[in-house]
Subunit: 201 residues, 4 copies
DNA sequence: GGTTAAGCGAGACGGTACGTCCGGTCTTATT
DNA sequence: AATAAGACCGGACGTACCGTCTCGCTTAACC
């Protein structure tokens, strides 16, 4: 997101922003993220790949993390999760989608690095939430429906449930570096819908 | 941990490693971690702070993350969690200790950055687990005891429980940048001991 | 001097050049020259100081040196040298005026930088001469009068005399960085009027 | 000249300076000076041409002018002026050598730019004098000999004579951009040896 | 107890990237 | 049509670190 989104404030003079340039930068960022990862991605490389001056990037984004998050938010498609209406099926699909995003897309590998930037730039937290928002919205709807049909208690804390499920996957896979398998997905589904603590098989 | 702990290679002649130097490096790393954080910490600064040549650091650790994890493992005390024998009390204390570590110590701010290094150097995952191990051991014991006294089912998947609890806190605080309060701790205790999903107050 | 002083091109329609703008640019240039010197002066700063677009400057001057020379020519007053009719007095005053210009005004500090631009843009040489012309005219008149009254030989090469005197001062002060004092002025006066080579005191 | 020539003070530790690197930088500087001139020469280009890191250049020279002057001092040969013992012949040859240096070598085109740096870095003046010193020494000797044999007055101010001759050429050619021909050389010789002011032909 | 190889500090080195400034050019809206 | 504002590409700035490489000194471990 640019330093100032589309503030209609003062009509301002000057040349208008070139939208092609803007898009080229985001595209180059997404491409490099997939190719070389967040750590190796440098503003210099993005500029060169996008055929753009470095200053143009710094004009609109004040840090690598800001650029990357906007690129991810605009350039990484939401997993299309079919909604059946069955709480169990839908919840399982939602968790699997989260697992997929964290495990199989550049976003997964990138999120810890972005999170690491929060202490240095608190605005990063808001940007991360902005990226997560649409994914989280989908999960919230599924749980909301589950509560509506009585599959979970009506006063369940949906935000906490989401943090539990995503957090467990995130932590196991991205922090501890342990593979997350279908068993864990099933454990999470059972936990939410059956109040069943994870058991050993 | 040095590249080769006690390599029995050709002990022919030569000189042994200087333990003072080794310790000075770890101390400087811990100090800098607390002062300026992981991102700003550079090998060069550690060397200068420790009064040591850069090459000496590279001789024993092959990356910043390796050095930092060893420094954290040796230089950051384990929270002393008193054990009462009461599952609820002990579990709450354990979760609070985890929360404290993630929230109030340099380790919390550092973990995401270390995790971000995993894709580049898979050995990092093992090192992170090594740092987490003693903390995790404590939690495992508490849950083991809870299972023994019937406070949780006997066949509960202790590893999954730990990932759930720590993951939820980690994710909410360190990834989403949202404060974690006592309510969440209570929710986690209830979840584990009562099979009670988090509810809104 | 504008690229086309009075371009008689297609005066058809359109709008005339704004003389206020023109003067504001020259004023800003003179001010910045005095404040920060030629090297630090940038078109960007001049534009900003003058409240003018960069393109407006580039439209009328094609280089920093062209702008600065015109600004100096129009914005730096000629030293008022009183003419007594006495060759020695007038010559001394003329040399002192040159010394003053080279030593105590921004022009002195700027001339070497402008000269340095000659190899890149030969037009610079003509512009420099244009700035020097009125100063040189004054000196020429003094020497002309001296020749007329027989204080110097009638066929003396006035241009060479001027280059000798100004060159010696310029070279000693601005190239070698050595202070030029009253002794040197006297040496030059004696050289021209008495044919007396410089002596040690 | 490096920031600290060869100060034998503290024997200092650390790796010794690599003389090949040092020479490669000076060589690249001289080559670029001849090819593209002082203004277009950038530290970046020198580094790349010499196959050297930029920081290595900055370690030993703190500015472009410092580097260029040392390169010129070490990389540009002194004109070999044969000494006959005849004051007129030798003086003429000396002046012609100076004319040659200022007119036909990169040094000439470079000197005004270096001089322009003096106000920003006074140390530049000393560096320029260092470059001029051997050339000036040669001239001084010639004039010294002329004084010894009575071709010029015994108490002549040799430094002033040199500034007069070199200054006149420098100023006419490099500042005013006017060609300097053999006539001027002859005028200078006559001035010094005959006390003859320049005359029109 | 003398020899010797490794440990070590210091720091030079080739690189890469940083974040900034400016040069020139071009576009937009205003006057 | 000339302008103020300012976006844009490109190039260079001077700095910080990276990880590697000498240097010359010190010191433990072996003969």
């Amino acid at each position: 997101m640019p330093k100032e989104a589309a503030a209609p404030g003062p009509p301002s003079a000057g040349r208008a922003r070139n939208p092609h340039t803007h898009q080229a930068i985001l595209d180059a960022t997404v491409a490099l993220l997939a190719e070389i990862g967040y750590q190796e991605l440098s503003i210099e490389r993005v500029a060169s790949r996008a055929g753009v001056g470095k200053a143009t990037i710094y004009r609109w984004w004040n840090s690598k993390s800001a650029l990357v998050i906007e690129a991810m938010a605009h350039g990484m498609p939401l997993a299309e999760v079919p909604r059946t209406g069955d709480p169990r099926t839908d919840l399982r699909a939602t968790i699997e989608a989260a697992l997929h995003t964290l495990t199989d897309t550049p976003a997964g590998a990138t999120l810890p690095a972005l999170a690491a930037d929060i202490p240095r730039d608190p605005a990063t937290a808001e940007r991360i939430r902005q990226f997560l928002r649409p994914r989280r919205d989908a999960a919230r709807e599924v749980l909301h429906h589950a509560a509506a049909v009585g599959a979970v208690p009506a006063d369940v804390d949906i935000e906490a449930i989401i943090d539990l499920c995503v957090g467990a996957i995130f932590y196991r896979k991205l922090v501890r570096g342990v593979e997350v398998d279908a068993v864990m997905v099933e454990q999470l589904v059972s936990l939410v819908l059956d109040g069943q603590l994870p058991r050993n098989e």
